[in-house]
């Protein structure tokens, strides 16, 4: 059964991968744009989920890391005219520095206190972005960020970068370090009594999470060629929260599935109404109320129950 499901999973993933790489040859510019958007936001959601799904900490401050790297890249390229590699490094470094600052201020707290501190810092950051017009461009943001390559070339760069990052995060999550993070989520005190500093482990998780969120921010800045304050607003921190809740925060692929649903739902519903958030809100409420494990968690539960009922039947037949 396990071998069969592994083969099936391998088949599905390979098919998706091949389709993703072939898509620019088969579809139009808008579909390509949506796929890039899904891939960037998937990286954002998976990076966020290191804190939420594995450390058990709900952060409302990830828009800081996302926008800090995007704005740094924008400023470096358009105002300072730095070479692209320097701008990329500066963007990543900024997201790491901000993750250390946010982590230092918030990681000694948990649950609602952690969420509120990250939310407050996010609002503060947005305030700075809006008011510091000489650097950030205020409400107008920064425009003219050139990627110097075609949209199709950028599509492939984006997909390869996101897949590489997801692979690295996967390796981290399923390493000994990932086990310690799961331990923190399960029983923080027992991790301390196991001679590990919970604060240090959380800080490391926050830096890793911030770094990959920063990479997503850089990809985003190149996608539109502009950076606007929308990505610094606290509501943009809610995007990975919703994606993780829809897909299932306790699995690696959950936030990716959630992002796909989120982006497609947004795109589909806005064709009929501007108030797409109302419908999305209803979906999130229903998932939280009736499908706590999200899409992936619910499917896993149903499959497991089906598998166990088949096993029970088998044993009963044997006994008879």
């Amino acid at each position: 059964m396990e071998r069969l499901s592994n083969k099936f999973l391998f088949f599905v993933l390979t098919s998706i991968l091949l389709l993703t790489f072939a898509l620019p040859l088969l579809s139009g510019a808008y579909t390509n744009y949506i796929i890039i958007k899904i891939s960037i936001l998937s990286l954002y959601a998976v990076a966020f989920n290191i804190m939420f799904g594995y450390c058990g900490l709900l952060s409302f401050g990830h828009a800081i890391f996302f926008s800090a790297s995007a704005y740094t890249l924008g400023v470096s390229l358009t105002k300072l005219n730095l070479p692209i590699f320097v701008a990329l490094l500066a963007g990543l470094l900024t997201s790491v520095i901000f993750s250390i600052i946010v982590g230092f201020l918030s990681l000694r707290h948990k649950e609602i206190h952690f969420a509120m501190i990250t939310l407050a810092l996010s609002m503060l950051f947005w305030g700075v972005v809006m008011k510091w017009r000489s650097v950030t461009g205020g409400e107008d943001g920064i425009t003219g960020i050139s990627r110097s390559i075609s949209m199709i070339a950028y599509y492939y760069i984006c997909i390869i970068t996101v897949l590489s990052c997801l692979f690295i995060i996967y390796k981290i999550i399923f390493s000994d370090f990932g086990l310690l993070l799961e331990g923190i989520r399960e029983n923080e005190i027992r991790v301390e009594f196991s001679a590990h500093s919970v604060v240090k482990l959380r800080m490391l998780a926050m830096i890793i999470s911030g770094l990959f969120t920063g990479i997503a921010g850089i990809l985003w800045a190149f996608l539109d060629g502009a950076v606007t304050p929308t990505i610094a607003h606290w509501s943009f921190s809610a995007v990975p929260v919703i994606a993780a809740l829809i897909g299932g925060p306790q699995s690696f692929v959950g936030p990716i599935i959630g992002t796909i649903v989120y982006v497609i739902a947004e795109d589909f519903i806005t064709r009929f109404t501007l108030y797409w958030q109302i419908w999305l809100g209803i979906v999130v409420v229903l998932i939280v109320l009736f499908f706590r494990g999200g899409i992936v968690g619910t499917i896993a539960k149903v499959v497991s129950e089906f598998y166990h009922s088949k096993l029970r039947e088998k044993y009963r037949e044997r006994e008879n």
């Binding site: 086990l179 005190i189 027992r190 991790v191 590990h196």
Partner: protein, 235 residues
Amino acid sequence: MFFRVENLTKKFGEFTAVNNVSVSFEKNVITAIIGPNGAGKTTFVNLCSGLLKPTNGYIFFNGEDITNYKIHKRASLGIARTFQIVNIFQGLSVWENVKIPLLSRKNTRDIDNTITKLLTFFKLENIRYTTSSEISHGDQRLLEMCMALALNPQLLFLDEPLAGINPQDRGVIIERIVEMKRSGITVIFIEHDIESVLKMADEIIVMHKGEIVAKGPSSSIKENDFVKEIYLGGC
């Protein structure tokens, strides 16, 4: 002295749970802490293991003042503990539960072998891949002790290790505690079942209203009039 506390006091508002306790423990001795409910036994262990900060007093381990050390630092020095209510990683497998404390060791090269050895010592090897919330209460107690032992501790606090355990499993736990002493671990445990205490302990400390009212070898404590009156019901 191996482990010692000086004038240790813990107050919760007006209530004094541990009152000016000074006591020392020798290496490689099993000490039982007994006393009626509310005597301050668990608070004393919580103070020693770092879960609570003392209002007053000092804690020394191998001559080092560890009063202000955090839990993980005490654990890395070799102080481990178990809890009155089993405290394990319920959602993780038995194997992963033991792996987490082992990851704190500097040399983690032979970690799989060490886990197997530890699980075999506690007779848990057959349920290694079972989620720990699905194993019996007795096995959970053994698992918690196994996790504490994975730290390679010098000093081990056990808070009511026999609570809620059936008579067959009690034998296994008592056997393991005595074996731990043989391998050089100093054990300090809290227990209500006086019969089991007498089987395991070299020394007994009696606590009452946050103070130590008697301390000595098991044989002498059994005959202590004050102990008979307050704890053994005058028998």
